[in-house]
Subunit: 499 residues, 2 copies
């Protein structure tokens, strides 16, 4: 009979192998999105496909199952325990789907993404519809394989926000929605009209980059464990906990893209750079959920980056890197401009107040789809109706409506709620942080170490050792509570719009 | 019984797997040498070690042997035939060494490199000596495992320049050496004294880079299948034949480092970018030997980049990117300066005439070591004596003498001759090319396509389909012949130094 300790050391060797594949795949993905020359892509895609297949095989092998069986509940080592549970979750998620169906789904995914791209360009939902129908069907089937207690959509949510259910969401989302639409109508009837167009001027890339790097350093982003590169669709990516890279895109007519984008991705990266070293090499060395990850990026982007005290104390620094144009814009006008609220059709261009409403539209539709309450063919007009209801504007075509996001085309259902959850978590953390830190003083000082340390102490270090709602409870003493987001936005925009 | 065609398709699947590992490893190496943040290196080294081990296992597996046995001499498909032979060569090279010894050697290699680094910094050969002794012993043992006909050193040469033997080298190297020392003494007694110090002026990196890129484009380097990055020790690297990257280093006080360096690496890259597509994914899709590779880089660097007509027609272009300083340097003085001959102690800083003499020193010493005619402990003074004999100068310490190169520390014996062979091949190719192309016209035109096409037609396309000496014979109609290099150098330097 094999002893626990022998199983344990073999298991750790096995995890190291998996990790080697994972790190190689991640480097390839980073390269594919930042550096690779055009003609090299085709062959590289084969390589990543091959290595991903190897990793998938290891995650779902009989050998993995035997490790899990031998070690589960057989150890007092907390890290090992949770590692085994994490492996079990991945194992079951994958093994419950018949091989043949999984293969079909993977092929459908990549085909669908390219069809979606074409449909989006042509603004023709009809092209994409048959693919989306199949993707929805697969998701329903998979959800049934995985199992759920109350709502079939819960099985999908589990992949992105384990522990959060439709029941939870349906308690908080409508409240947020109603508060935000209420705020929005007050904002729209205010006589105060911040004007973000004053921000549009030629701002050379180099200056934007230097300012963004200065802010990243103040946040505590460690450039000896990371780097900043250019890309088309910005992202943060973890090669290992000592190599967490960020990327950004520069719009020389609108600095907000790169500046707020870098702070956002920097927030994701800080999370991963500060996971405890004892988790290195295990599958726990990663953010615990999409929602908690988004709480970190949104905290830095909005609660710090769009904060009044931040600009009070950083506008002079900003002007050192910025074109002369800004010398003629007062701090007051600048601050108001970066916080202009204006309903828009495209989610990723939305301001911080209307953003959650974009998420509600998507959540309600995908939940209804998975619950077979609506049909794919009805999506375009249902989308437009909801946009009208919540934001008061209506897409004039599918491209600026239902076809704008890649998520569904990639087969990802259950992902969207994370964005809104992350925002609520961020507001809860922000509120709690105030008890420990004089935020205004810290922000004013230009050295944000105390904020970063508080986040590391309370959130970062745990990686996947705690589930998202457990983190929220441990940190704030209560469960998910949308009131903090609502009061934050109410207070902030009441000041800006004077209602 | 398994049919040939079934074996063939399984073999090709197997090669694809190997290729995925190889490409992932190569990307990691590129990243390690260009982009990785400092703290990420340690974990990344583990990943590359793991993937290299997997690749090594596949190259030497029983399964590989069974493919070789089933397919060797069983097919008329030339590419498949040579692929099998290439795999057999790798298989045997590795399998002939007992596992335990190979493991010891790999550990010794990495330890030796770090000891060498320290020894070099302290200029203390004694530190490195015991490691070098073991490395020499391993190489002797391996050479005996691999086998040879006449000289034990031939077994090592085979790894870098298959088909070339000590017999060949000992026919050509002494001739070259005598001719070059003769030329050198004439140059040294000439009253003409080109002065390369006039080239040393502040030349901002950006301008150097733009000029280098312009030349790379004229050479036909395809930026859609490659890219140029910064590094410390410049190299070219092939991810796949549609992704061949080059790197360079900028010295803002000496543009020659980046400009000639980029042309050199560009020459390597052109070789790999232009290998026939039918070899893609096989182990044949690579330069056939170190020597032929070096013939390509040296052809472009010296025969084009240090050519009179090149500067006649490109000095004006150069000055567009260069600082005003060069407006006061005549074309004549500039050309003479980039071709100054001056014996120096460090190989990688040598001019094109004395460079082969540095190689002779190393070749003669390593051949004698492997043949047990000298001992490691005697290397420092033997090195210094040979430098005195061939170049007329003597290192004052080990750092600028025997400790300057990494090759031996990495366990690589038999590699150095490639540099001199490559130079001779380049001269032979250059001579032959003149029959087909009016070189002066082509160089003058600034569009070097015809040169690149000739090289692709005659050399690049074949990858490893032809052995080095076969290429030389097919292209030039004769075997290795040092006379072309000697006459090229004689004619060129007679003009420059007026003797």
């Amino acid at each position: 009979m094999t002893s626990i300790s022998q199983n344990q050391s073999e298991f750790q060797e096995y995890l190291k192998e998996m990790n080697a594949y994972r790190e190689a795949i991640t480097l390839i993905q980073w390269d594919l999105r930042t550096k690779i020359p055009k003609k090299g892509v085709e062959q590289r895609s084969e390589v990543v496909g091959y290595l991903s297949h190897k990793l998938h095989q290891m995650e779902t092998s009989d050998k993995m199952k035997s490790f899990i069986d031998a070690l589960n509940e057989q150890t007092n080592d907390e890290v090992l325990q949770k590692t085994v549970l994490e492996c079990l979750d991945t194992y079951e998620k994958n093994r419950k789907i018949p091989d043949e169906e999984f293969r079909e789904f993977v092929m459908l995914q990549s085909k669908s993404e390219s069809v979606w791209q074409e449909a989006r360009e042509k603004s023709d939902f009809g092209l994409f519809q048959p693919y989306l129908e199949k993707l929805v069907d697969f998701n329903k089937k998979f959800a049934n394989y995985w199992g759920y207690e109350e709502n079939i959509y819960d099985a999908l949510l589990h992949n992105y926000e384990p522990g959060v259910t439709v029941k939870t969401l349906d308690q908080v989302f409508p409240k947020v929605r109603e508060s935000l639409t209420g705020l929005l109508s007050k904002i729209q009837s205010s006589t105060v009209k911040p004007d973000s167009t004053i921000l549009n001027t030629h701002f050379p890339k180099q200056g934007q980059k230097e300012f963004a790097i200065e802010i990243l350093k103040r946040m505590g982003y460690d450039f000896e464990s990371g780097r900043l590169d250019d890309t088309i669709h910005p992202f943060a990516i973890t090669l290992n906990i000592n190599d967490v890279r960020i990327t950004t895109r520069y719009d020389e007519q609108d600095f907000r893209m790169a500046v707020f984008g870098t702070i956002h991705e920097g927030g994701h990266a800080l999370y991963e750079q500060n996971i405890s070293n004892r988790l290195a090499g295990t599958p726990l060395a990663s953010g615990t959920s999409m929602g908690i990850h988004e709480s970190q990026s949104l905290f830095w982007e909005n609660f710090l980056g769009r904060n009044k005290v931040f600009w009070d104390s950083h506008y002079e620094l900003f002007k050192k890197y910025a074109p002369k144009h800004f010398d003629n814009i007062s701090l007051h006008d600048f601050y108001q401009a970066v916080n202009e609220v204006k309903p828009s059709l495209i989610r990723i261009e939305a301001d911080e107040l209307t953003y959650p409403l974009h998420i509600m539209v998507r959540y309600e539709l995908e939940k209804a789809l998975i619950n077979s309450e609506i049909e794919v063919k009805d999506l375009p007009h249902l989308w437009n109706e909801k946009m009208q209801d919540y934001l008061g504007i209506k897409p004039s075509n599918d491209r600026e409506g239902v076809l704008q996001d890649i998520h569904w085309a990639g087969g990802d259902f259950g992902y969207f709620p994370s964005y809104a959850l992350g925002y609520m978590y961020a507001a809860q953390f922000n509120n709690k942080m105030k008890d420990a830190i004089n935020m205004d003083d810290v922000i004013q000082s230009g050295d944000f170490t105390k904020i970063r340390e508080w986040l590391t102490e309370n959130i970062h270090q745990y990686g996947k050792m705690k589930k998202p709602l457990q983190i929220v409870e441990d940190v704030t003493g209560e469960s998910l509570n949308p009131d903090y987001l609502v009061s934050y936005l109410t207070e902030k925009y009441r000041n800006i719009y004077q209602f």
